[in-house]
Point group: D2
Chain length 125, copies 4
Amino acid sequence: MRSVLLLEHTDANTNVDYLISQVREFLQEREWQKYHNPKDLAESICIEAAELLQLFQWMSREEVCAFKDVSSNVKRLKEELADVVIYCLSMANAMNIDLTSTVVHKLKRNRKKYPSKLYRGKAHL
Amino acid sequence: MRSVLLLEHTDANTNVDYLISQVREFLQEREWQKYHNPKDLAESICIEAAELLQLFQWMSREEVCAFKDVSSNVKRLKEELADVVIYCLSMANAMNIDLTSTVVHKLKRNRKKYPSKLYRGKAHL
Amino acid sequence: MRSVLLLEHTDANTNVDYLISQVREFLQEREWQKYHNPKDLAESICIEAAELLQLFQWMSREEVCAFKDVSSNVKRLKEELADVVIYCLSMANAMNIDLTSTVVHKLKRNRKKYPSKLYRGKAHL
Amino acid sequence: MRSVLLLEHTDANTNVDYLISQVREFLQEREWQKYHNPKDLAESICIEAAELLQLFQWMSREEVCAFKDVSSNVKRLKEELADVVIYCLSMANAMNIDLTSTVVHKLKRNRKKYPSKLYRGKAHL
């Protein structure tokens, strides 16, 4: 029992289902499922993605490199990234999508689309 | 051995670390880590989020409701959602962020920010 | 002379050159031209566009219809729309683009792409 | 008459009203005004802004500097910028906003918000 209380959820010990269930619980407590249609969710993903981008607005390459070394920067980035991810989990929840197999499948397609022989070291051909 | 070959990765049996490791492997095969600074990653999250939103451009409420019933729609949504999620995983990889604890922590903050007593059934006060 | 001072700039009496010159003057006063490369400007257009969208986050069709009737809403929309337009004018300035002929030319292409006979009353075929 | 036919619209000889009237005419020919509520227009501005940003995805500072010198790049940028501007004009049309006075007013506020004495040469304090 104590072990349950002390367990911290990390990427190493948590499956995606747990994260989606946490988002679902948060929604149910507030009766917010009714807002979660895929169009409004896609909007919210866009809005939060832009807030993430805003952290880097007008930053030079040098400033971007130094960004990571300031803990308050990393803290803000984590907050904004979490917002994007929470809405992605919400989309998976609303659409009844298995996110893991969706991601694995897309990576497989990307491997074919961008053969490493052709694209090694190059973003574009 | 056969069981390994047959195992399909799903949200129920896969932790976030596995997904990040898959993304990292994909990058390393192409030597693309050099592109993955947080500013360019935030841009790519924005770009993919907008492609997700584009699926619903000009759609009425009725069309959004019916969206889910057409399998080709769901297929396209999964592709675009995967693109957003893959770049979020890439950001976690590039910034050395534990995504699970970041999401769990943000949900805890959101619970305080939006007390269910006040916000039940309401997106805004 | 007094008439010059009293003249208010409106869509009916102002050409696009005047707006771009105002943006350029604002930049020069702050020596901000160095920040205005097209990539960072495109980012800023994205960020401001998302702030405009945020005004409508989670709004139902009925709330969107009623939006216009509240003067504080219109005021906020004008501020956010101005931010997007100012960065578009900045992009035209930075890239030495004539915005008017660019818009007129694109509308001409759109007329061909979406023949009114086919698209009358329909967003998609 | 011939002079009318030969007149090319440029930033120097065209007021904003003309551009809005061209957009309005385009919409009326297709009976598309019904789609132009402010929420869907804000979405479309976001979507087009992201397509503009996509032109610069993964580009280094050096590649951004060289972008301007390739005429096919400039052509694509003009197309994407036009799409954003056309939807901004559409928003002004749908909301009955005078874009010129809105922009002039916002620049006045920005002048106060960012005093040139404090911000000269600096994007942030």
